[in-house]
């Protein structure tokens, strides 16, 4: 048993691991349940399988082919988005949709149907997945696409790794004329301003997102900076086309777990104050390489360790425009009142481009993501409250970032969950999935207990 962590380092569960090496191999035979695991960039328990086995896909990292004329790349599921960028960017092809870190696998990007800063004009990652192979525990292999096995295609995109193992996938990249982004930063006084500026920005910016100061209160709730941008036109400002495609990150690493006193209300508010005022109230334009624009956090390798050994919880919700203002205000105020600093809080808007994935999280509205240092019960209760507020607002919480949503909420957020359940592979399970289905445990409590996993207090608490 090995404790493999998710990005938030909470919850901690014990599980076996089994490395996969070849895409044509059969699934390994193990007792208990299995779950594919990419680069573990999911925050909560959806990439964990307490008491079971994680199938590590990082060895499935080969390319199959890439057509520089059409931008279609075919690769194994453990290939990271970083590897795709290294291949594509110098040849003028970029990811059609990318999350805020490039250290995720293609399999993980499909299983969570990830979104980027361009959801309003591009939709989710799943839309660009032309085909993939799905291997089930009964030994069957299916090619899934909008035309072949469309039901398996729809269930697996956003399917949280539960429908089987994706061995390879074919993804359509999008053309860019150079690796630079023309970025504009606009200061926002509060949430109302965000709602106006974000909508306006969508018209002529492919990428938008806002950083919010979570500790601002009263009229200042939602104070922050909005970033918007487009890939720069070719030869902008006389810059050479396709200069280095290599990382521009400063390449720091967090060498160890930081003691938890480093993060408190004071340090976070000081950081937020500095960050906000650096901007001196005026919009700013600059040209920036794609790396710092899309992946600012990747420059600090292992930044999740800043939160110390107890880890942290991320909470990301989306709420419809009709309830956005009140619900987000409520959520931001609750978290700031709770006295639990959220270092990084991000607001974005989602458009209404549908995803092929049945359990896809993005839907039209406003999305807010927050990090909370794990201070035990206090934090869990806060996150559970935010889940409830989201549900009442008719929104949804993102399973990839979740550790506390209730089974009732899950059912409400994902109306196709019952249909989906019929596609879950009987040998596959996850800590998240068991948390959402506490009564119909596919694997016995006994085996999880015997595994040395922490003793669950109640069936509900079992992960």
């Amino acid at each position: 048993m090995k404790s493999l962590e998710s990005w938030g380092r909470y919850p901690r569960v014990e599980q076996r691991t089994q490395a996969l090496t070849w895409r044509s191999d059969a699934l390994p035979e193990v007792s208990g349940s299995v779950l594919p695991h990419g680069l573990g960039r999911s925050y909560g328990d959806s990439c964990l399988n307490g008491g079971g086995t994680l199938l590590l896909t990082s060895g499935l990292d080969r390319f199959i082919d890439f057509d520089p004329a059409t931008g279609v790349v075919r690769c194994e599921a453990g290939v990271s988005l970083d590897m795709i960028l290294r291949l594509g960017a110098p040849r003028g092809w970029f990811l059609p949709v990318t999350p805020g870190t490039k250290f995720v696998t293609v399999g993980g990007a499909i299983a969570n149907d990830v979104h980027g800063k361009n959801h309003h004009c591009a939709g989710t990652f799943g839309r660009y997945v032309r085909r993939f192979e799905l291997v089930r525990s009964d030994g069957s292999r299916r090619i899934c696409s909008p035309d072949e096995n469309p039901d398996w295609y729809g269930a697996t995109i956003g399917g949280l790794g539960l429908t089987g193992l994706i061995t390879w996938a074919e993804v359509q990249l999008k053309p860019i004329s150079n690796p630079y982004v023309l970025q504009e930063t606009v200061p926002l006084a509060n949430l109302d301003e965000f709602l106006v500026v974000a909508r306006e920005s969508e018209a002529d910016h492919q990428f938008t997102m806002a950083w919010v100061d979570c500790l601002a209160r009263g009229k200042k709730v939602g104070r922050g900076l909005l970033y918007r941008g487009n890939f720069a036109p070719p030869q902008f400002d006389g810059l050479p086309l396709a200069k280095s495609h290599l990382s521009h990150g400063i390449g720091l690493a967090v060498p160890m777990d930081m003691p938890s006193f480093c993060l408190n209300r004071l340090t976070v508010s000081a950081f937020n104050w500095l960050y906000f005022h650096r901007q001196n109230g005026k919009p700013k334009q600059r040209l920036t390489h794609y790396d710092p624009f899309f992946y600012p956090l990747d420059a600090i390798y292992g930044w999740n360790r800043i939160y110390g050994r107890k880890g942290f919880l991320q909470f990301q919700c989306v709420v419809p425009y009709s309830t956005a203002r009140d619900a987000l205000k409520d959520i931001l105020e609750r978290s700031s009142r709770g006295g639990l600093p959220s270092f990084l809080s991000v607001l974005k808007t989602f458009g209404d481009i549908p995803s092929p994935g049945w359990l896809s999280f993005p839907r039209k509205g406003v999305t807010l993501a927050m990090d909370f240092a794990n201070r035990g019960e206090k934090t869990y209760r806060l996150v559970e409250e935010l889940d409830r507020v989201t549900r009442e607002a008719g929104g949804a919480v993102y399973p990839a970032k979740d550790a506390r949503m209730s089974p009732e909420s899950f059912a409400a957020y994902f109306p196709r969950h019952t249909e989906f359940a019929g596609y879950v592979d009987p040998a596959f399970s996850s800590s998240f999935w068991r948390r959402m289905h506490p009564v119909s445990l596919p694997f016995s409590l006994e085996s999880e207990r015997a595994s040395g996993a922490p003793q669950p207090q109640s069936v509900l608490a079992l992960r």
Binding site: W22, S24, I64, L87
Partner: protein, 245 residues
């Protein structure tokens, strides 16, 4: 190395080496046993920028195919200037102690098949007066230990063979590079508990190519193993035989 034959191309270290060679735009002739896996490595190399990739699925324990295999590689790439010999098995010491058959299998794959392949390769390289032969051996060949002396013996024999070959080919301008990795985190060692001394196949591949580029004789990768093996080799036999190693 621009036109390279890779023997045992589906092994983890070879795969990592193939990627680095492909990124440099080399032409490659890849040989492995499992056709499907070899195909995966071949396509990966082509996508990553190899100028040309050909492959052949054969069992290298079948010595009768070796001459034709070498001929085929020269034909396919229009000549060769590099070879990376990477196939090998770890074997099971307990089984080897129990039966000669198990011991023989290890010696055949790790030593005899290498010699059988290096014989025609060395002759051609000697004739063309150019080229680099890189052979992956192991630190285990430096001193016999009870825990894996059959594997160690196969690699030790290989090391001596390579020394002789190097001595013979030096005047023909052919480099013979013996690469001695320590513990490497690969499917071959998946069952072993890992510690800090385990290196990634990528790290070993970088060390291997650095050694090949500078036409080194014998290299330990990672370099720390030079020190470790110096110590292990210098323990007097009278003491060594009492150790549990």
């Amino acid at each position: 190395m621009k036109k390279v034959l890779v023997l045992g191309a589906t092994s983890a270290i070879a795969q990592a080496t193939v990627r680095l060679l492909a990124a440099r735009g080399a032409s490659l002739y890849l040989v492995g046993r499992n056709a499907a896996n070899l195909d995966a490595v071949t396509k990966d190399a082509a996508t990553r920028g190899a100028a040309k990739v050909e492959s052949k699925a054969v069992d290298l324990n079948d010595f009768a195919t070796h001459e034709a295999l070498v001929e085929g590689a020269f034909q396919a790439l229009g000549g060769l200037d590099g070879v990376v010999l990477a196939h090998g098995v770890l074997g099971d010491q307990a089984e080897s102690q129990a039966t000669w058959t198990a011991t023989e299998a290890v010696l055949r794959t790790n030593f005899m098949s290498a010699v059988s392949l290096l014989t025609p390769l060395a002759n051609r390289f000697e004739a063309q007066k150019a080229g680099t032969l890189v052979v992956i051996s192991s630190v285990a060949g430096d001193r016999g230990r009870q825990s894996n002396y059959v594997y160690g013996a196969s690699k030790g024999a290989l090391n001596v063979f390579l020394q002789g070959l190097r001595n013979r080919l030096a005047k023909a301008n052919v480099a013979v590079v013996t690469v001695k990795p320590g513990f490497v985190d690969t499917p071959m060692t998946a069952h072993l508990p890992k510690n800090k001394l385990f290196a990634s196949p990528e790290k070993v591949a970088r060390g291997l190519l650095r050694a090949a580029d500078s036409r080194k004789n014998e290299v330990y990768v990672p370099g720390i193993w030079a020190l470790i093996m110096l110590i292990i080799k210098s323990i007097p036999e009278s003491v060594f035989k009492k150790l549990k190693l």
